[in-house]
Amino acid sequence: MTRTWSNAPAYAEVVRIGIRSMLAYRTRFFFSALQIIVQIYVLRVVFTSVYAGQGSVDGITLRTTVVYLTLANLQGFFSSSFLDYFIRSRVREGKIASELARPVGFLGQMLALQIGSTLAMLPLLVVAFPLAWLVGGMSGPASAGYGALYAVSLALAYVIIVLLGLIMGISAFWTLETTGIAMIYSLVAQFFAGALVPLWFFPGPLRVVANLLPFQAMGFVPVSIYLGLPDGGNPLAALGLQCFWVVALYLFARWFWGRAHHRVVIQGG
């Protein structure tokens, strides 16, 4: 424990580096925010035509669905993890040697970098939030209580997203060339997180699959808590499920890293 605390200034500096290097890419990152805004707009148009003037589908109003999609996409963008991409490209180029040769733990460094990059993104919310509201739709939480639960759920979702990014990144130590896998992964994750279609519209068997995967805990769970669980369910059970995934993924990430770091291969001379 004492060692961890003596490393606190080191981690703080890594957070700072994370912020600074994210800011170095501000243009690119500004455009990917725009892309999310466009995606929200397209989803709204699509679902409006799906509803075809009906007041509600499966007991859920168009308004609820649009707010869901707006929040899910906005939240997904600002809570995204770049660790998968970062670790994978560092491993491929052999640059991961730098992080591995440091006197502080690899996982800690990665988490600090992630926090830094998220902090660097947050100010963009000032522009992105009103835009998303405009092209999509927004409303307050179902109640103050749901609002508070949403905050907790969002924090848990962020931890799950980061852990999954870390695990995907670590898998690069085995596969080395995983561009194909990474692309499929991000599509599958986005879909099962409910960013394109709310999980309440999933047909029975697909919904069962979605419920078994960790991805719903990244996006669907917090947003539907915000909306007061329009398709039913207990908010505490939903939070409990998220906690389960946090613990499970954390344990898995530790174990996985333990394996990886014994079979590290550094590419290139």
Binding site: A10, A24, S98, A101, R102, P103, W174, G180, V264
Partner: protein
């Protein structure tokens, strides 16, 4: 007391059979087929505190792989390694505090950020007290001439500037051990000279133990007393630079400036003596390669001067580069059937 002890180190790489296509990565993941490459094959050596050792060998000999094991980022397949009483890969973080590493081919600096940001990060990661950090930063800024580009993003630096930045990053916390993997690669003559005097000074003034790999043998001749020469993962030679020359290039050369005798230059056959051959000839200048065991230098000189008029004589030691070239050539010949 040795600070580094390597005993029978072996590192094998398992190369999975790769499949192409967009899902190739996935197939690779689930196929057990692989080939084995022995990059380091039973390497043993010890290094004493304060030594500056040249770690040499042709491309693919296993030098970088050895360095990676020394830093603890690679786990050897078998064998033992102890660095300052620690097994590097078992206590990776503790080991990291005592070593500085420069991989000339890749940088530890943050590509998009000003050089100073990476240096500050190093200061924090290695827990350098603020005051000592200041002092060392000032010192390295002066010694390595970093002042002009401390605020420049690393991606905008020239190779030589980046390399100096990397060296500063590796030494900011004054590690007692330094591994330099090709620190002079791609540098111009002047930059190399500066790099060398910097390395020499660090070794001399601070007693830093240094292992240096390079393909520029001038680095070795200027800096190292001892070299370890490896080839195909095996140690071929370990000892003083001088003895490598004696062992692999037992000859010396006598350079003779001839005086034309009545307009005629003597033919090569004139120097047909046991243990002597004409290595090179440029008009009136002849390089005679001789084996001092068969014909001592004074006798050769006496014989030559007796046979023809001579205006100048010089005995040259074989250059390390020439010796190493000879070793590589022999190896190539042995490898091609």
């Amino acid at each position: 007391m040795p600070i580094i002890t390597a005993d029978n180190l072996v590192k094998e790489f398992r190369l999975p059979k790769r499949y192409g296509g967009p899902l190739g990565g996935l197939r690779t993941l689930f196929t057990p087929a692989y080939t084995v490459k022995r990059a380091v094959d039973g390497v043993s050596f010890t290094v004493d505190e304060g030594e500056l050792v040249g770690y040499l060998g042709p491309n693919g000999a296993g030098k970088s792989t050895t360095i990676k094991m020394l830093t603890g980022i690679l786990v050897p397949t078998s064998g033992m390694l102890e660095v300052a009483g620690l097994v590097p890969w078992e206590r990776r973080e503790e080991n990291a505090l005592r070593i500085g590493v420069v991989f000339g081919q890749r940088s530890q600096l943050w590509w998009d950020l000003p050089l100073i940001d990476s240096l500050r990060l190093v200061g924090k990661l290695y827990r350098v007290p603020a005051e000592r950090y200041r002092r060392n930063l000032d010192r390295f800024t002066e010694l390595l001439g970093l002042g002009a580009f401390l605020q420049t993003p690393v991606r905008q630096l020239s190779l030589g500037q980046r390399m100096r930045g990397d060296l500063a990053a590796a030494m900011l916390y004054e590690p007692p051990l330094l591994y330099l993997d090709e620190p002079t690669v791609g540098l111009d003559v002047l930059a190399k000279e500066r790099m060398r005097s910097f390395i020499a000074e660090v070794n001399r003034e601070h007693g830093t133990t240094i292992i240096l790999t390079t393909h520029d043998l001038a680095d070795v001749e200027k800096l190292c007393r001892r070299i370890i020469f490896i080839d195909q993962g095996k140690v071929l030679y370990d000892g003083p630079v001088q003895r490598l020359k004696e062992q692999f290039a037992p000859w010396r050369e006598l350079v003779v400036q001839l005086v034309p005798d009545g307009g005629e230059l003597p033919p090569d056959e004139l120097f047909d003596l046991p243990g002597v051959e004409v290595a090179r000839r440029e008009g009136a200048k002849v390089w005679l390669r001789f084996d001092p065991k068969l014909i001592p230098a004074p006798r050769l000189i006496a014989q030559v001067t007796a046979r023809c008029p001579v205006s100048d004589l010089a005995i040259v030691e074989p250059e390390l580069a020439g010796v190493v070239r000879g070793i590589y050539a022999e190896r190539e010949a042995a490898l091609t059937p």
